[in-house]
């Protein structure tokens, strides 16, 4: 099988996998990185959302070959050691999570949104496609605004 090399959460990794294997299964089944969750496999639930070169993407619909030589960040790579990312802090402050299964993807989506749009409006937040079956949406909205406000206060 072909060898693929990319940066995963700050460290170079090399993995032996077919070119067309979706990155999600490379992460979960070959590398033991289970923060990104399977929820649909076709990019519509967005539970696996992570970052590719700092941009939001869905590893369930992106081949490992596509990630060759690039930088992949999953939820596991978001905090700086024990210091949580401000969006993770906001998630805890607003007690967003319920079952928690979609939240790694929600947080990675929110981080990407705030990079593009530091002070998002409700209409900006409405563009988020990630499903939360527990219905934590209002707290997600609140947490994104809180993280945005915290960043502007700094």
């Amino acid at each position: 099988m072909p060898i693929h090399t990319f940066i995963l959460n700050g460290r170079p990794v090399t993995v032996d996998a077919p070119d067309d294997m979706p990155l999600l299964w490379v992460l979960r089944d070959k590398l033991g990185v289970t923060g990104p969750k399977y929820g649909c496999g076709v990019g519509v639930c967005r539970a696996c959302t992570s970052h590719l070169d700092g941009q939001e993407f869905q590893p369930c619909t992106r081949s490992v070959k596509d990630c060759e030589g690039r930088t992949v960040t999953t939820i596991e790579g978001l905090a700086d050691g024990d210091t949580l990312h401000p969006v993770q802090e906001a998630w805890i402050d607003c007690d967003v999570a319920q079952c928690g299964f979609c939240q790694p993807g929600q947080i990675m989506t929110a981080v990407a949104l705030l990079r593009r749009t530091p002070d998002p409006t409700d209409a900006d937040i409405d563009q988020i496609q990630n499903i939360c079956r527990c219905g934590s949406y209002p707290r997600i909205r609140e947490a994104i605004k809180r993280a945005a406000a915290a960043r502007q206060a700094r």
């Binding site: 969750k37 639930c45 939820i75 790694p104 079956r133 949406y137």
Partner: protein, 775 residues
């Protein structure tokens, strides 16, 4: 007293305090456990009587009709005579069975004989572990239980762990997570266990210091002496295990001494979740468990006709292909390889038993399943309304996943189980093993909404592991779960409300539903609680229906009948079960009847609501939500009310339907009273989630059946709400705590659904009859 080496295990020690015990609705464990107790026996007799009550209700209904129209006229005259211009009192009204005894009470009764088997452990490291015989699926139960333990133990919340217990068959009916019953059933035993443990720790410290125990106090996971000496619970754990008779009372605190219960508290697992460390079944690293998927029939309950697996077996990474009753399993080194090999299987399938049925056929059969209405009395008016509700998949975020390791003579499983004991029994029987040879490890679940009452995936995983002779990690794809998973059954409702001179004289509700599969241990529990279903002439579903469904208003004499359509499709309880459709249909009809009778929808309810606390909720949402405010064309407010499981809630929503294809709830005001609240934040999350469920099932999310197959395949066409479908403003008002805790996990769904439907009707001037509206 059972004790573990180096630790104290406090089990429920009678008698518990009655100072803040619930007055009646939760019952008292010890009284009911002891057959000598007059109250318990009386209550059980009462239950039997109540189970027969539907018959009595129907007889009363027949009696009224037989006397009509004279009786009806008399009733109207009596009502008119007593009429208060602003709020006419209802002359006739019967409490529903759930007003007196609900499903949760029945489940608590079933669990009473084993409620003393709850285990709280204090470790030498100073941690308190309450081994929870329930499942956490996002309802916040582990946090609420940790708060109760920390409160009574005077421990730091961060020192409390709430691991989920393996299946424990000795608990009989007391390891079923459902019916919004966990806090209701565990509130007393958990507090009692923690208070008993505290008493032993204090006694152990008193012995160590040789001082009177009643001079000591506890705080921050330690026993404190007046002179400032301090012993952490970990240092006392071994000594406390040897305390036979505590020297201080082991009784829970009075409400006014609580420091944690009732305070908004963040989830104990929040940090694990936001860092990706929280583990679900698919994340577990069980040695040798290989990724596994199953090829399934083209129609529901179809069967395999032919299989050629040669190409699939030759594919890279494929480890085995085995046949099981529900399909063909593929085991591979990765899920990607398993999925690709599954696609390469050459299969043909025999059609399933409903392959000739589509949505319209099922709706027609439901319509035909009803018992006919009784003729309305002369000289009264009536309003008829009919409603269709579609099938709705549970669609939890985490697809069904189960790890199974079946060896000769034993089996071990890991999955999110709401009913692990029944799962263990069923899987043992399937594997030909004694029950004790099967271990069920209960793993946190990524949502459930009723889905994980069933253990379909675990049963399959056991079959596959046995056939393949190796451990497997089985995952249903989203498509598997949509097409072959379980659904809230489709239903049809006919309501006839008879009225005259400003009064509602009676209310008939005929519900016809595709049969709900309740085969997950509930029947055993009800039997264990003393219900003789066959003697009462009831099916399990009818008993469930009667224990949960009631009309909360004084609307004359209500009758509610359930007709079930047996159909070979996969169904199951969906958050709020029958109330999710029955009460929504009632609430929509209440609105229509109010308008027909020229009354305000909210005032109309308020005047007829039996529950006084419920009236306060209507008042709260009316004031906070500015009920009746002028809205632009295409927009309107809507209200919904529901009480069940010892809780009650009102929703007021504002909805913008100016684009009918994309209606949006723009604001929600919620008021709830569920008795004693353990964690207001957890309760708010439940009420919010119920709102999103209501938006989804009323406006946009459901499942079609096309020739015996489910049409929808993922969240791309099963339109559960996304961020853009939800209100930017959600305001929640919680009433001051009173009495025992009620159940809150399912409470909000009927009221929220009704509020959304009623707002849509008012905004559009239409009478929605089929849900979801945009389907």
């Amino acid at each position: 007293m059972p004790a573990r080496s180096g630790a104290v295990s406090a089990r429920r020690v009678p008698p518990i305090s009655t100072s803040d015990a619930p007055s009646d609705s939760t019952g008292h464990p010890d009284e009911a456990a002891g057959p000598a107790s007059a109250e318990a026996t009386g209550r059980r007799r009462f239950l039997t009587y109540l189970l027969a009550a539907p018959t009595l209700t129907v007889a009363a209904r027949l009696g009224l009709d037989a006397a009509a129209p004279a009786t009806a006229q008399a009733a109207v005259r009596a009502a008119a005579a007593a009429q208060d211009a602003s709020a006419p009192p209802q002359p006739l009204g019967l409490p529903g069975i759930p007003d007196v005894l609900d499903l949760g009470d029945a489940m608590i009764l079933a669990g009473l004989p084993t409620s003393h088997l709850l285990v709280l452990e204090i470790t030498p490291a100073g941690r308190a572990a309450l081994h929870l015989p329930r499942l956490e699926v996002g309802q916040g139960l582990t946090t609420a239980i940790a708060m109760l333990v920390a409160e009574e133990l005077d421990a730091e919340l961060t020192d409390v762990d709430v691991p989920l217990s393996d299946g424990r068959p000795e608990l009989l009916f007391n390891q079923l997570t459902g019916g919004s019953n966990s806090v209701r059933s565990l509130y007393d035993p958990v507090r009692a266990a923690a208070a008993a443990a505290r008493a032993r720790l204090v006694t152990a410290a008193a012995n160590r210091w040789n001082v009177p125990a009643d001079t000591l106090r506890t705080a921050d996971s330690a026993v404190l002496a007046p002179d400032g000496r301090r012993l952490g619970y970990g240092e006392l754990a071994a000594d406390a295990a040897a305390v036979a008779l505590p020297a201080v009372p082991g009784t829970p605190k009075p409400a006014d001494q609580r420091r944690l219960v009732g305070k908004p508290t963040g989830r104990i697992d929040a940090r694990d979740i936001v860092t990706g460390r929280a583990e679900y079944a698919g994340d577990l690293r069980i040695p040798g468990a290989v990724p596994t998927v199953v090829a399934r029939p083209t129609t529901i309950n179809g069967t395999l006709k032919s299989l050629d697996a040669s190409a699939a077996r030759a594919m890279p990474g494929v480890l085995a292909v085995v046949q099981i009753p529900s399909g063909v399993a593929v085991l591979a080194e990765t899920f990607d390889q398993a999925l690709k090999a599954r696609d390469a299987l050459r299969t043909t399938w025999n059609p399933g038993p409903v392959a000739d049925l589509s949505t319209a056929d099922i709706q027609a059969r439901l319509r035909a399943a009803h018992a006919p209405f009784l003729l309305p009395p002369l000289l009264t008016q009536y309003l008829d309304a009919e409603f269709d509700f579609a099938f709705v998949n549970h669609a939890p975020m985490e697809v069904l996943t189960a790890v199974a390791d079946v060896r000769p003579g034993r089996a071990e499983l890991w999955f999110a189980a709401q009913s692990p004991i029944i799962a263990q029994q069923t899987i043992a029987a399937e594997l030909g093993l004694p029950q004790h040879a099967v271990t069920v490890h209960v793993v946190r679940g990524g949502g459930s909404f009723g889905r994980r009452l069933f253990f379909d995936a675990a049963l399959e995983a056991a079959q596959i592991s046995k056939a393949a002779g190796r451990p497997v990690k089985l995952m249903w794809t989203r498509n598997d779960d949509m097409r072959h998973g379980r659904m809230r059954p489709a239903s049809h409702h006919r309501i006839r409300a008879t009225y005259g001179l400003g009064q509602v004289l009676n209310w008939e509700h005929r519900a016809a539903t595709v049969r709900t599969d309740l085969g997950h241990g509930l029947g055993e529990a009800l039997t264990g609680a003393g219900f003789n279903l066959s003697l009462a002439g009831l099916s399990l579903a009818q008993a469930f229906f009667l224990l949960t469904e009631k009309n909360p208003y004084n609307v004359g004499i209500p009758t509610q009948l359930l007709a079930e359509l047996p159909l070979a499709v996969h169904t199951g309880s969906w958050r709020s079960v029958y109330s999710g459709t029955v009460r929504v249909a009632d609430e929509i009809t209440m609105d229509e009847l109010a308008r027909r009778m020229g009354q305000d929808e909210l005032d109309f309810r308020r005047a007829r609501l039996r529950d006084v606390a419920g009236k306060a909720l209507l008042d709260t949402v009316a004031t906070a939500g500015d009920w009746g405010r002028a809205m632009p064309p295409g927009q309107a407010q809507g209200i919904g009310y529901h009480d069940e499981n010892g809780g009650r809630v009102a929703y007021l929503v504002e909805l913008d339907a100016s684009d009918r294809a994309n209606p949006r709830v723009t604001k929600a005001v919620i008021a709830a009273d569920v008795g004693q609240v353990i964690n207001p934040r957890g309760l708010e999350a439940q009420l919010t989630g119920a709102l999103i469920d209501g938006i989804s099932v009323i406006l946009q999310a459901g499942n079609h059946i096309d020739n015996g197959a489910v049409r929808e395949g993922s969240y791309a066409d099963f339109h559960y709400a996304r961020q853009r479908n939800t209100p930017p403003v959600v305001e929640i008002h919680l009433m001051p705590p009173s009495g025992a805790p009620g159940g809150a996990g399912e409470l909000g769904v009927p009221a929220a659904s009704a509020a959304v439907a009623n707002a849509y009707a008012r905004a559009t001037g239409t009478s929605p009859r089929s849900f979801p509206i945009n389907f």
